[in-house]
């Protein structure tokens, strides 16, 4: 659905994207993760044709694919940029209608799609209000509605939950899942690992303009997450006396502990499996990024 081949982009002496290649398959939800300055936004900009790569190419669509510089290819794209791209003085309905018209929709089809998009993001009752009166979460949802009103086969979401409250975040994640369930291919960038873990079938972790890991969540955890941590608490002992064992085979380790000679003293056992965040930190380090 989306193929990035050996993309390179530099701004002066700073190389933002350095020989990046990846393929996003039709119908999957693909996560693009990375610390600040990793090159995610530049990659997204090149993927939708906002930026021309210095070298390499972007191909969208089935078969050989075509460049996003072709307007007919962009007809199949939906983009929800990280910064809200809305007209504050227009109502929610007017915003979505405007962007839908630019996608070539008109007449009854236009009205139907606009109404459906607004209902999908839960803004139907407030569709006549001007966007400037919306809360942060409502604006995020409106931003999404404008991206998916024309039902694009490829949807690119750039940190769609940035700055919203937990309720809106859950709503947006549900929404993305429902869109993906209809067969839409989604490319999702985020800083929130739990979102990627919940939504994405595969993720790519970028740093310094390159992809440093790519695969399913399980594959990445297995390859880079390290072992699970088994914590055993015993009667009468302080918390500092808890036993912590790192293992790649938690079942065998648990069996060993539970059948051991001191099994009667066990008050509780906790097993912490590695997650995407530990993978991310393992791969990109704990150094602060600007």
């Amino acid at each position: 659905m989306l193929r990035l081949e050996n993309l390179r982009k530099a701004f002066g002496s700073t190389v933002a994207v350095d020989g990046l290649s990846l393929t996003v398959r039709r119908g999957e939800v693909f996560g693009l993760l990375g610390p600040n300055g990793a090159g995610k936004s530049t990659t997204m900009a090149m993927a939708v044709g906002l930026l021309a790569p210095d070298s390499g190419r972007v191909l969208i669509g089935a078969g050989a694919g075509a460049s996003p510089s072709d307007p007919s290819v962009r007809l199949g794209l939906g983009l929800a940029p990280q910064s809200l791209a809305l007209y504050d003085e227009l109502s929610g309905e007017e915003n979505v209608t405007f962007f839908a018209r630019l996608q070539g929709l008109s007449g009854r089809d236009l009205r139907g799609r606009v109404a459906a998009a607004l209902e999908l993001v839960g803004l139907g009752p407030r569709k006549g209000d001007r966007a400037k009166g919306y809360s942060g979460g409502m604006k995020r949802r409106l931003n999404l509605a404008a991206a998916l009103v024309h039902d694009p086969p490829l949807l690119l979401l750039d940190e769609p939950t940035a700055g919203v409250d937990p309720q809106s975040r859950v709503g947006i994640l549900d929404l993305v899942q429902s869109v993906a369930a209809r067969g839409t291919t989604v490319v999702y960038t985020t800083h929130y690992m739990e979102e990627a873990q919940r939504l994405c079938e595969r993720v790519a972790i970028m740093d310094l303009g390159k992809i440093i890991a790519i695969g399913t969540i399980e594959e990445l955890i297995d390859a880079h997450g390290g072992g699970s941590v088994l914590t055993v608490r015993r009667n009468g002992g302080p918390a500092t006396a808890d036993e912590r064992v790192t293992t790649t085979d938690p079942v065998r380790e648990l069996t060993r502990v539970m059948t051991g000679p001191d099994a009667a003293t066990i008050r509780g056992v906790t097993l912490d499996r590695p997650d995407l965040e530990s993978v991310f930190l393992t791969l990109t380090g704990r150094r602060l990024r600007d």
Partner: protein, 434 residues
Amino acid sequence: MLSAAWTIATKDLKLLLRDPAAAFFTLVFPLGVAILFGSIFGGRGEQRQDLALAVWLGERTDAAERMARALESAKGLAVSRAESRAAGEEAVRKGRATALVVIPEGFGRAADLLFFRGAMRLEAVVDPARGAEAGLITGKLNELAFKQIASGITDPARSRALLAEARGQLATARFSDPLMGPTLGRLFDALDAVNAQTERAGAADGDVKGAGGGFSFQPVEVTVTELERRGSAGPRSGFELSFPQGVVWGLMGCAMGFAVSIASERAAGTLVRLTVAPLRRGTILLGKAMACFMACAIVQALLLTMGVLVFGVGVSSWPLMLAAVVCSSLAFVGVATLLAGLSPTEQGAGGMARAILIVLAMIGGGSVPMMFLPPWMQTASSISPFKWALLSFEGATFREYSAADMALPCGVLLAFGIGGWLVGVRGLTRQRAF
């Protein structure tokens, strides 16, 4: 392509109308300017503004009084008597009068001794800010004083009194040329004979004063004729001058608004979405241009409608007016695009647009009518598209241009439009605006 451009254009117009400040400065402010300046220039033109003068008599003589009355009855002057010279000067200082005319002590004596003393002296104290009127006042005073002299010679009674006074002076006068005394005596005798003849002619006409049918002394006569109008040409009112100025301010508001439009879209993030939409870059620019064109045309149409229906502005040719509106609108589409191409940021584009457009509007006749600008600035104003927009609008109203006359301003406006568009698009491309 056109459908998408139209969608962008109507969205931009909707945004313009929903921004109270932008709508005010684009639609309401120009109308206010037109009405205000029209009222200052004399409203509907039924009454003209007379030149306000204060007059102070430094002596109470018949000659001084006659001169004051002549000033008071002169057409085009609004004369008030000052109680003192200081009071008259204060009136000038406060702007209540353009000048103070002082009829000094000795004026009457000089008038009586027409042939022996120096000139009849008059003094005009002029507001330094009204230098243009000083010459006008000098000419008017010369004219009225000369009429005083002429009436002294042609009125037999006054002439006889003057001659009696002159003969008395002649008896005691010493001349370097011994022939001068006898010569003046013969002149006085001749004038006595003229007076007698005038009185006889006047009596035959039934005019006891005798001035009507006989001698008159008016060596120069200046006739002032207003330029004959072509049909109803010439500004019939101040509003025919001020509404084109209103158009200038309206066009400025439009150009300013649309010059920052692309930068505003970029700042709001919406330009990203426009760019990702299945449109060619040219379609986005065309949409912006259409919005600017429509806003310019709407402002002009609004001002024209108000001018014609409410303020009596006359349109000499509707087709030429249409050409003026279209060409002006196209010119300012170019100007707005040019300004948009100068800076990628909203603040930069807005600041530059304001600075450049205000200067161009001022030298183009937007704040001060062209006729009041110094000659060099009138020449320099040709670089301002506002001048040509104003000229085309006036051409289709009181100047009553023919199609050939209208070709020049319209041609220049189109050149501004095309040139501005090309340079602006180049600038936007360089900015990587899209």
